[in-house]
């Protein structure tokens, strides 16, 4: 078996009561409740190979979290097939639960008033991890995440970043093969985001974990994942390597140059997007970049020059632009 996750034509519909404010509306709702149905997933299909790290991207409400919850066995799918490590997640078999982990950046599972270590021991018993294995994993993880000294501190006294590290440790202690992450760096400051990202990348690669990660922070995905799946309004818009995503939705490069003196005529005028004295900025189709650089160095005296790939944020803005109003 080389596929860790197989999703075929997955559908999920949410039905939520719809009620206008006011007493009369409340009464009417009692008698004839009206419901709003939301098609959260409309035929999503993809497979993830064992050991692959996949980023799951999309705007709010695209269905990312819904997919993750179905894959982790927390929600029932309405239609379609889902297989994770050969299990049907919604059946909730113990053998399945022992092989997966799900970390939600917006929620914690640790108890507020108790030290994380107490909960780790509880999870050791729940997942039936032999003590020596548990000890070794805990020492390893706490060492990497640099929280060894904090294991006995009540969770409420930890910073947000420290708490997220504890949540990750809690999720990894039973040695899952598939890891689902939902916004693991949400709300963290830049330093903590960077640290957690680096730790995750290292650990996931080293252990050969299969990872499916939903995130708003494109840097998370750029740092950890080789492949991205783009979801919009319950449908997959793109599935492939990160580089291909950029090539497809952002076939441009940004060229910045500072000239020795402000020149009246500069090459590539058609692509010029900014001009402030000697400082110039172009947005150039990828294949035109060499020619522009050639002309630039031939015709002017360049003091400083840079060519940049577009940031993933810009790529996504491009990808979702045409469809935004429709949702």
């Amino acid at each position: 078996m080389s596929s860790a996750i197989v999703v075929r034509n997955l559908h999920k519909i949410y039905r939520s009561p719809q009620r206008e404010p006011g007493l009369r509306a409340a009464l009417r709702h009692l008698i004839a409740p009206r419901y709003r149905t939301v098609q959260a997933l409309q035929g999503v299909s993809f497979t993830v190979r064992l050991g692959e790290a996949v980023g799951y991207l999309g705007p709010n409400g695209a269905g990312k979290t819904t997919t993750l919850k179905i894959l982790a066995g927390v929600l029932f799918p309405d239609a379609g097939e889902v297989e994770v490590l050969g299990f049907e997640p919604w059946k909730g078999e113990t053998a399945f639960k022992k092989r997966i982990a799900f970390v939600m950046g917006r929620k914690g599972q640790l108890w507020w008033d108790l030290p994380a270590l107490d909960l780790f021991h509880l999870f050791r018993e729940m997942y039936e991890v032999p003590f020596p294995v548990f000890r070794r994993r805990l020492d390893d993880l706490a060492g990497r995440f640099r929280v060894t000294d904090l294991l006995s501190v009540p969770v409420r006294n930890l910073s947000l970043g420290e708490r997220m590290k504890m949540e990750l440790i809690a999720a990894l202690l039973h040695g899952p093969q598939v890891l689902f992450l939902d916004e693991p760096t949400l709300g963290l400051d830049v330093m903590a985001q960077h640290e957690i990202r680096a730790l995750l990348r290292e650990y996931v690669r080293e252990q050969g974990l299969t990872l499916l990660m939903a995130s708003h922070y494109m840097r998370d995905v750029e740092a950890i994942c080789d492949r991205v799946i783009l979801l919009d309004a319950g449908r997959i818009r793109f599935d492939g390597p990160l580089s291909e995503l950029k090539a497809r939705y952002a076939p441009f490069r940004e060229v910045r140059a500072t000239l020795a003196s402000a020149a009246s005529a500069v090459p590539g005028a058609a692509w010029l997007v900014e001009r402030a004295g000697p400082r110039l900025r172009w947005r150039v189709p990828r294949e035109q970049v060499p020619m522009l650089l050639q002309q630039l160095t031939a015709q002017t005296e360049v003091v400083d020059l840079s060519v940049q790939e577009p940031a993933l944020e810009d790529v996504l803005r491009e990808a979702f632009a045409p469809n935004r109003a429709g949702r």
Partner: protein
């Protein structure tokens, strides 16, 4: 199925509850204030030699003090941890883990109620002392054991109700109504306001037939030695039947509820 994890859950709950022992003591103290009025009332009604519906003064006072304390262990309620987890979606965490959700919360409830009940003894014992020589003890070691069994079954049965009431959160946007039912109607039907014998006959018959009498009235009767032998066996049989019935019902409700669960947030 391994049980150790649930012991650990209970132990952690004790640990957490212990952090709030003064708070427990105060809340039990406040909760015992109506008991004072109740005892004074019955003292007046019965006088030193009075009897009512087969209850002596001592039995009546013992009944109220005992049940006041016992109901902390055998009284069902809407357990806010469960409703919160359903509303907020934190139930998702529990569904991820290899564990039974009902047993997890049973362990939590036991772990948090036991310290509370122990602290409550500090409030109840002075009341018992005030009754003096009239205080009633179970008549024999066997009666103590019979009482213990009926309490254990009542605790288990109470939890089945607690779980059922709490699962209503899958369907209701607000479990306040269920909570009122659990907090006011159930204790009445269980015999916490009056021993069931004191109700008008048709009402008493109805209350005897309902399962709530098994939570409080029955164990109290066993304690007082008013139920023993074959009657006790029959009573325990009724407790067991309700326990199994509710357990099966809860399994069905739980599976239906999960299909409605949306795991909001996160």
């Amino acid at each position: 199925m391994r049980w150790r994890k649930y012991l650990t859950v209970a132990r952690l709950a004790v640990q957490e509850a212990a952090a709030y022992r003064l708070n427990h003591f105060l809340s039990f103290l406040v909760a015992a204030v109506p008991l004072l009025g109740l005892l004074l009332l019955w003292e007046q009604v019965l006088g030193p030699q009075g009897r009512l519906a087969g209850f002596t003064r001592g039995e009546m006072l013992t009944y109220f003090i005992l049940t006041r304390w016992l109901y902390e262990l055998t009284g069902p309620a809407v357990w806010w941890d469960i409703t919160y987890e359903i509303y907020q979606g934190d139930l998702a965490f529990h569904l991820l883990r290899p564990q039974r959700y009902d047993l997890y919360h049973f362990a939590l409830i036991l772990g948090s109620k036991l310290p509370y009940a122990l602290v409550g003894l500090g409030v109840v014992v002075p009341f018992a002392l005030s009754v003096g020589a009239a205080w009633v003890w179970p008549p024999s070691v066997g009666a103590w054991a019979a009482f213990g069994v009926s309490v254990a079954l009542a605790v288990a049965l109470a939890y089945q109700f607690t779980f059922l009431f709490s699962l209503s959160a899958f369907w209701l946007e607000d479990t306040g109504g269920v909570s009122l039912l659990a907090d006011f109607v159930v204790p009445l039907a269980a015999g916490s306001l009056l021993p069931l014998d004191l109700f008008p006959r048709p009402v008493a018959a109805l209350l005897h037939a309902l399962p709530f009498a098994q939570l409080l009235y029955f164990p109290a009767q066993v304690y007082l030695g008013r139920v023993s032998g074959a009657a006790w066996l029959r009573g325990v049989g009724v407790q067991l039947a309700w326990l199994v019935g509710l357990f099966l019902l809860n399994g069905w409700v739980w599976r239906r509820g999960l299909r409605r669960f949306r795991a909001v947030g996160g």
